[in-house]
Amino acid sequence: MSIWRQLSRGLRTLTNRRLADQDVADEVESYLAQAAEELEANGMSPDEARRTVRLQLGNATIVREQVRSYGWENVVSACVSDLRYAARRLRYNPGFTAVCVLTLAVGIGANSAIFSVINGILLKPLPYHNPDELIDLLHTAPGVKFPDANPAPFLYFTYREQGRTFQSVGLYAQTSGQVRGLAEPEEAQYLGVTAEILPMLGVEPELGRWFSEKDDTPGSPPTMVLMQGWWEKRFGGDRSVIGRQVTVDGTSRQIIGVMPARFRFLDTNPAFLIPMQFDRNKAILGEFGIPGMARLKPGATIEQASADITRMIPIALHSFPPSPGLTVKVFEDVRLAPKLRSLKQLLVGDIGKTLWVLMGTLGFVLLIACANVANLLLVRAEGRHHELAIRAALGASRRHIVRELLTESVVLGLLGGALGLGLAYGALRILVAMAPAQLPRLHEISIDPAVVVFTFAAAMLAGVSFGAIPAIRYAGARTSTALRSGGRTSSQSRERHRANNALVVVQVALALVLLIGSGLMIRTFQTLRLVDPGFDPKDALTMRITIPPTAVKDPEAVMRLEQGILENIRAIPGVTSAGITTVVPTEASTGARQVYARDKVYRSVPPLRRLKFISPGLLTSMRNRLIAGRDFTWSDTYERHPVAMVSENLARELWGDPRSGIGKQINANPKDLWREVIGVVQDEREDGVQLEAPAVAYYPLLMDDFDGQKFGVMRSVSYIVRSNRVGSRSLISDVQHAALSVSATLPLGTVRTLQEIYDKSFARAAFTLVMLAIAGAMALLIGLVGIYGVISYSVSRRLREIGIRTALGARPQEVARLFVARGLVLALIGVGCGLAGAVALTRLLVSLLFNVSPLDPLTYTAASLGLLIAAVFATFMPTLRAMGIDPIEALRVE
């Protein structure tokens, strides 16, 4: 039988139901008429003939019903009429419907929202050509205790020339620099890339072209490709920009292309891109720290690529000369090895764990919501018990009743889902607007078809699962008992009690698990706040300035300029102290070098340490405590005294006691001048409070003979300004003015507060905390409504019983005890189950916690007690009603 025919006929019937019905009715009528006619021909009277036909063949309506029920279209129309019936019943019960739909909307909406976040961040492929082939060229250097090391130009050339598993290899680096040749000078973030990077990502430029191999060759005319945002901001989207010249850090560059708006380079937001123009002839061993990516050949795996790189590293080490003063042996001791990962992994990082924990949490909230709605439906079905029994007695099949009850709950589920999708949309708008730090790929989070399908599935599943409980319970109701007991039940059946109770226990248990989860996050947050970061983030500003060699060539003149700005800033009213540094806490650091101590013998390379170049007074303005010795002075700086400072943990590691570090000598390279340690500085958690403080070596900004360089100065520095006026607009403009009055042509970076930067390091914990707290609060609220609902329903069902008890002399307190005890027992069982669940589940939180045990007794006790108190309260409100019952009124009810 052809499906097409089935479909078209069925559709025809559906679209013109009346005509189809008429057809069937006519045919039945004509059949019966002919039968009667035949009987009449045999001599019966017309009336008698009709009666006989009806007796023998059945009445026309029944025959018609039987014939009509054929075909798929009838299943459809049965569903439609069920739907219509369900809709009508829900409409006549607006309170019940609203409570159910809202509860579900919150539960489903929360899940849709977190699913869209997971979908946008973790599931969607990166917006590049064949993104699965893209990898991050990360390395590791255990020999110098550097777990994550980015590649270097010499590795790039080796991999490009000798790699067997790559289609292409490229490096990129984000820097900032000053742009001239436009209306006003600007300090802009931009990206240096090798020629392979853009073709590797495969996003075509909107105007012009990508960099060619030639553009990336040293000596070629300098070029640049604009990003859409900057092109629109600075050129007003002018399509004739191609060919124009812009000066970047003193080099005039020709614009050769504009990238489309949809192109984003990982999570960076550069203004434009320039070719890096690495010179193969000048490449040396060293110069690490430039991120790289590669496109694997189709079918090649990350393991094969790692093997390939492991093979090439020794080749690379013997193909290029080592940096001045070092030997190849030094680089072999670094024990460089590949630590490749997908590009997506680089972008997404370890946020996945947090998100899955949140998804699980919100799944719990949905479960609690479903349990609540199931409970309400049970109560309602109880009220309809009588009606359902009558319908069963009149011949409604069990299947029919189940279908009808399920239709109603699925309609509730879908309504909840639709509203939930709206809530999720709103929640995502808020989330994206808040742009929590450390949430990568934020711009890719949206309500897309996958999210809609997810929501629909969640709504259907929820509808079927909470609808199944009353459907199973009542569809098979034994007609006779149900009808006999009539409306005058004096108390509920034990069986029904059990279902309600189980649901309440489940709700309480789930809510407790969530409360404990959010409690643990609160404790984590507290502990984080108590950690001494080693500096004071309050009341301090920071601003970055770069002085390129094209502006001022002589290092000492640069130092004088930087000091001039500093003195101007210090002179601003309300500024208590100010200093210059190359590293602002929790921001990317300027790099790392070895620290050699003169009194030690080295058989292999010592580990890399953080570097910090600072001005006199910086420690005061950061409020870094000096453990021993003294700060740098300006004469140390200008006369280039061979001095240094070390962090407390570095001093302890090298010489045991931090104080004994004073007077020792260190340098970054055994060939350099030895520098005397004049101060030991308190540890500073510059990577964020939750991470251990790194070991740091401090040097002056202006130095002779450092790391192979004769005479040098730090040209890109940050000012730290401490003032009680932080937060006022006027201070920011005063600071900018202080810089501009020294050199009007200096472009300034944005002025930010240290607090703002410091708070970013809490962002992950804060985000998780807020989300868990919201989930916990929702769970608690829904759970309490559940307890309240069950007790208050049980009060209303037992009015007669209470009336009798009171009439027989029971005191209100005794009546109250009846209900409060029941609520408490339920809550206690729930808390017991919840504690067991929490012990099992909070282990998943470990990676998100900081110095807090997942079994923290304080949290467990507080959450359990809080929940119990709230539960007693929820029980008490309906109980009050029971206590105030007038026995005469109560006995008259029903």
């Binding site: 025919r5 045919e27 059945g58 025959v63």
Partner: protein, 111 residues
Amino acid sequence: MDDANTDVIQGTLDMLILKTLSLGPMHGFGIARRIEQISQGVFKINPGSLLTALQRLERGGWLDGEWCVTENSRRAKVYKLTRAGKRQLNDQTVDWSRRVSAISRLLKTEA
């Protein structure tokens, strides 16, 4: 005779309808009558099942139904066999005889 089973053997109604219509176009009541006559009252046709079966066969493309006026000037839906219907009847008949002979062989061997 009242107690005797007059139900059509399960699954054979379609075949009986097709066979009856292979003798010529006919309306529902006519088909029922004809089956009852030829089976000499062994099978009695329930109009509900018959009309449902007619719908099913028409939907399957084995019958064509059309409203006509009968000899005693009454409107009735007259069905006739399509080419696909003839093929279907042939298939079903072959299948049926195969099964009937198998059953009767089984019944005989017992004796």
